[in-house]
C-alpha cells in the first residue's frame, strides 16, 4: 500500500496550460476523488500520476519515492479505464494475468492472485470467456479484477462508471466501496459525477481550470465550501445564487442558499416568486420559483406538495445555512 504526493505539478500542451500548479498529499489507504467539470484537467492529472503523460513541471512521489522517470509498469500502480480497455484477443483469465506475466511472476503465484481477485468480484464463471462475450458490467468487473491482481500501491480509476447504465452504476459503486474497505488500498478516482464523489470519497479534490479549488471530506465541502465554484458544484440540485442587492443586503456580493434550506411560506419570506415548474420525486418535491430579476430559484421540499403553476409564493431562507460570497467569489465566514 502506498501514499501519493503531488508537488507543484504543471502541464502544458503547446501554448495551453492544462494543469497550473497542483499540490496534494494522499495518505496511505485513502480514497481520494478528483471532481470537476469537463476540461478541468482531472483526467490529465491522473494520467500524470500513472506516467502516461509527463508533467511539464513539478514532481510525483509514490510511497515517498520520486517516480518522474519511472515507466508506468514499474510505478506500482493499476488503472481502471472508462472504456474498460480489456485486451480483445485474450480471455478473462489472461486479461487479468498479463501484467504479472510481463513482470515475470511464477505461474502458481499468478494463479493464486487471479483466484483471489475473481472470487472477490464473482468472476469465476467467466474466466474462460473473451471480453466480447461479457456484458458491460462484467467487463468493468474484469477491468477492476485486472487492477486487483497486480496488488498495486495505488489504484487509479478514470471515470470507471461512466459507460454503465444507472442500475449497474450503483452496483459497481458499491463494489468499489467494498473493495476499498477489504483491501485497504490507496485509491485515486476521477469522475465528473458529484454523487459518485460524495458517496465514495474519503476526501474530495475539486478541480477547476487546472487548479485545485478545495480539498476536503464530502461533508466539509457541502457545509463549508470555500468559494462560489465549490458551492455550486457540490450538492444536487445546485445551490441557488442571488445578487445580494436584490435581497436588500449589503454584507456580501452574492448570497447562496441550498434548495433544501428554503421553506415556502405564503407571505413575509426573503423573496417572492411565481411557481414555474414542479418536479415530484416521491420523497422530495423540487419547486422552481421564477423570481424575476433574481432568476429561477429552486426549493427542495420533503414529502409531497401541490402548488398551482403561476401562483405567487414566498421563499424563506434558513439564515444559519445562508452562504455569503465576496467580489472574488470567496466565502465570507461568520464571526460569531
Amino acid at each position: 500500500m502506498g501514499s501519493l504526493a503531488l508537488k507543484n505539478i504543471t502541464k502544458s500542451f503547446g501554448q495551453v496550460d492544462v494543469i497550473k500548479g497542483v499540490d496534494l498529499e494522499v495518505q496511505n489507504g485513502e480514497l481520494v476523488i478528483f471532481v470537476g467539470p469537463s476540461g478541468c484537467g482531472k483526467s490529465t492529472l491522473l494520467r500524470i500520476i500513472a506516467g502516461l503523460e509527463d508533467a511539464s513541471g513539478g514532481s510525483v512521489e509514490i510511497d515517498g519515492a520520486e517516480v518522474g522517470s519511472t515507466p508506468p509498469s514499474k510505478r506500482g500502480i493499476a488503472m481502471v479505464f472508462q472504456t474498460y480497455a480489456l485486451y480483445p484477443h485474450l480471455n478473462v483469465r489472461d486479461n487479468m494475468s498479463l501484467g504479472l506475466k510481463q513482470a515475470k511472476h511464477p505461474a502458481d503465484h499468478i494463479a493464486e492472485r487471479v483466484d483471489f481477485a475473481s472470487k472477490m468480484l464473482s468472476l469465476e464463471p467467466y474466466l474462460d470467456r473473451r471480453p466480447a462475450e461479457l456484458s458491460g458490467g462484467q467487463r468493468q468487473r474484469v477491468a477492476i479484477g485486472r487492477a486487483v491482481v497486480r496488488k498495486p500501491k495505488l489504484f487509479l480509476f478514470d471515470e470507471p462508471l461512466s459507460n454503465l447504465d444507472a442500475a449497474l452504476r450503483v452496483n459497481t459503486r458499491l463494489e468499489i466501496a467494498r473493495l476499498h474497505r477489504e483491501l485497504g488500498a490507496t485509491m485515486v478516482y476521477v469522475t465528473h459525477d458529484q454523487t459518485e464523489a460524495m458517496t465514495l470519497a474519503d476526501r474530495i479534490v475539486v478541480l477547476n481550470g487546472g487548479r485545485i479549488e478545495q480539498v476536503g471530506t464530502p461533508m466539509e465541502l457541502y457545509n463549508d465550501p470555500a468559494n462560489l465554484f465549490v458551492a455550486g458544484f457540490i450538492g444536487s440540485p445546485q445551490m441557488n445564487f442571488i445578487d445580494a442587492t436584490l435581497l436588500n443586503r449589503d454584507d456580501a456580493k452574492t448570497i447562496g442558499i441550498r434548495p433544501e434550506h428554503i421553506s415556502i411560506v405564503p407571505a413575509d419570506g426573503d423573496i417572492k416568486g411565481r411557481v414555474s415548474h414542479i418536479e415530484h420525486l416521491g420523497a422530495d418535491t423540487n419547486l422552481y420559483l421564477d423570481c424575476g430579476e433574481a432568476g429561477l430559484l429552486c426549493a427542495r421540499l420533503f414529502g409531497e406538495h401541490q402548488f398551482e403553476i403561476d401562483s405567487e409564493l414566498h421563499a424563506k431562507f434558513d439564515e444559519s445555512r445562508v452562504f455569503r460570497f465576496d467580489d472574488q467569489g470567496k466565502v465570507i465566514r461568520r464571526t460569531n
Binding site: L52, P72, F81, Q82, P88, G99
Partner: protein, 279 residues
Amino acid sequence: MSTARHSPARSIAAHAVLATYTVIALFPVFVIVVNAFKSRKAIFRTPLEFPNAETFSLVGFETVLKQGDFLLYFQNSFVVTVVSLFMVLLFGAMAAFALAEYRFKGNSLMGLYLALGIMIPIRLGTVAILQMMAASGLVNTLTSLILVYTAQGLPLAIFILSEFMRQVSDDLKNAGRIDGLSEYRIFFRLVLPLVRPAMATVAVFTMIPIWNDLWFPLILAPAEATKTITLGAQVFIGQFVTNWNAVLAALSLAILPVLILYLIFSRQLIRGITSGAVK
C-alpha cells in the same frame, strides 16, 4: 436486412442494375478464359462461343508451358508481389502508428509528406529510378522491383492506416503500457489485430497494381531470369504475328494467383470498406 420497407419491384430493379454491371465487368474475363480453350480458327470465327468438341484445344496452354519459362515468370511475379505487399503493410502500418500515436514536432507535416506520393505518380521518376538502379547494380534483379513497388504502395497505405489507427482506443494502449507491454507488443498484439480490416483493404489495393504492372518489369528487370508474368506474356505478341492462343492462355493463368489472394483478403475487405459507415 430489413425487407419490410423494400418492395419487390425495387429489389428486382436493384438486382437488375447489379447484374448488368457484373456482366459488363466480367465480359472481358469471360472472353479471355473461353477463348483460351479454343483453336486459333475458332477464336476468330466464333469468339463468343463456348468451346465444343470440334473447337476445343489446349494448344495455347501447351505453347505457354513449353515455350519460355512460365513457371519461373509466375514465381517472379509471386515473389515480387508478396514481398512488396509484406513490406508495404509492415512499414506502412509502423509509420501510420507513429503518426497516429506519438506527439512530436512536425507530425502533421510528416503525414502530409508521406501522403504526397498518392498524388504524384511514381512513373514520372522512371528515368531517375533507372539511373539509381543502374548505379547501384540492381538492374535486372527482383530487388529493384520490390523496392519500387514498396515505395509506390506506402503513401496510400500510411494514409488509410493512420486514419484507422487513430480510432483504436487510447485506453487500450495505455492499459498495455501499465501492464508493462513494450511499444512493439502494443503495436503488434493490440493495435494490428484491431485494424486488420483496414490492412486487408490496403493489401488488395496494393497487390493488384503490382501484379498487373508491365512498366517497371519492362524497364528495370527485362532479363529472362527476372521476367514477371505480364512481361512474359508479351513474347507471344509479335510485331506481325500474335499467337493469340498463347496470349489468352497466359492471361487466364495469370488471373488465378491474384484471385486466390483476393479471396483470402475479401472477407476482411468488405468489413474494411463498410466499417466507417456502419458501426
